[in-house]
Symmetry: C2
Subunit: 190 residues, 2 copies
């Protein structure tokens, strides 16, 4: 299973066997159960995580209601909140909606890898850029599309995601009520 | 003026005089006039830019209407669309709403700096992470706040921005009509 992170980097830029071994050597994988929290609002998200398997939901509480802002699934990174040297308390929570396996980023180990294998410098920048692109896409989706278009877009781009997420979380993510989402789904089904 | 990029990095992590000189040595600064385009939708955004002075508006055209999704001002980066080795045609336009000075990122020069000064590896990752945090904040703003709260938030966090941007662009960015924004402004003023 940890091989998934090797494949991820290898797709960005082909790795040598030595580089692959270096990634796997001493890798830290943690298992979480559905319903558990990675962090709750007010806590500190100090580390970086890579999702090997499972799904984490990000949400805020606004006027007592949970508003879902993101789902992290396989091959996505969960980045620390703010600068590693100046992490701020998180204003969102991260909760597992499936049993989940995460690679836990280790600052010391990353530094050693980066200095031993210069290729990883480029890889790590590109991994962050991938996440930036995803965030950029998400804000664009919210500004430029109607809820129905957003649903269709997610259906088209991440077809597996929709079957994995409870309808009310998905509705919150799209920015509508579960009732409106049901209507959209019925309309699209006919 | 190019010193602004030195100050930017220096705030993230203090630089030696040698490192400062290396950033400025051979730096490429380009001047744009208000109304000019950095790119139009369909073109390729291959380079990375740093805003020294001025303001760039990002927008999409949706059903014939311009929808504004971002403003880039001093100390912000404009990142290429997608992986540097696999840049996709942009689906948005970038147009200057003020006379603007940009540092143009040069891939070769960046690589030389990164290998000569290992500190820049960390700095460049943190610069991208800063932009990621901004994007994350923007999507959270759109999902968790009402238009009035969004306006207040921008007013509080980037007070200078609101005076620099025409009202109709600001309304589009917040996701409401200019008329609604006027009403919000009147309400907040009393």
């Amino acid at each position: 299973m940890p091989n998934r992170i090797v494949s991820y980097f290898n797709r960005i830029e082909p790795l040598t066997d030595k580089e692959k071994e270096a990634i796997l050597d001493g890798i830290k994988v943690v298992q979480f159960k559905k319903g558990e929290f990675l962090i709750k609002a007010g806590q500190y998200l100090r580390q970086t995580y890579f999702v090997l398997e499972g799904c984490v939901r990000q949400y805020f509480i606004v006027d007592g209601i949970e508003k879902t802002t993101n789902f992290f699934v396989e091959d996505q990174w969960i980045l620390s909140t703010g600068d590693p040297n100046d992490v701020k308390p998180s204003n969102f929570s991260l909760r597992f909606i499936e049993n989940t396996l995460l690679v836990v980023g280790d600052e010391e180990r990353s530094k050693a890898l980066l200095s031993q294998f210069p290729k990883f410098q480029d890889l790590s920048r590109r991994a962050i850029q991938n996440e930036y692109d995803r965030q950029r896409e998400l804000s664009e989706l919210l500004i430029t599309k109607t809820p129905e278009q957003r649903y269709s877009y997610i259906l088209e781009r991440q077809p597996g995601l929709i079957d994995r997420i409870p309808l009310y979380h998905l509705a919150s993510y799209i920015g509508i009520t579960p009732e409106s989402l049901s209507r959209i789904r019925k309309r699209l089904a006919t």
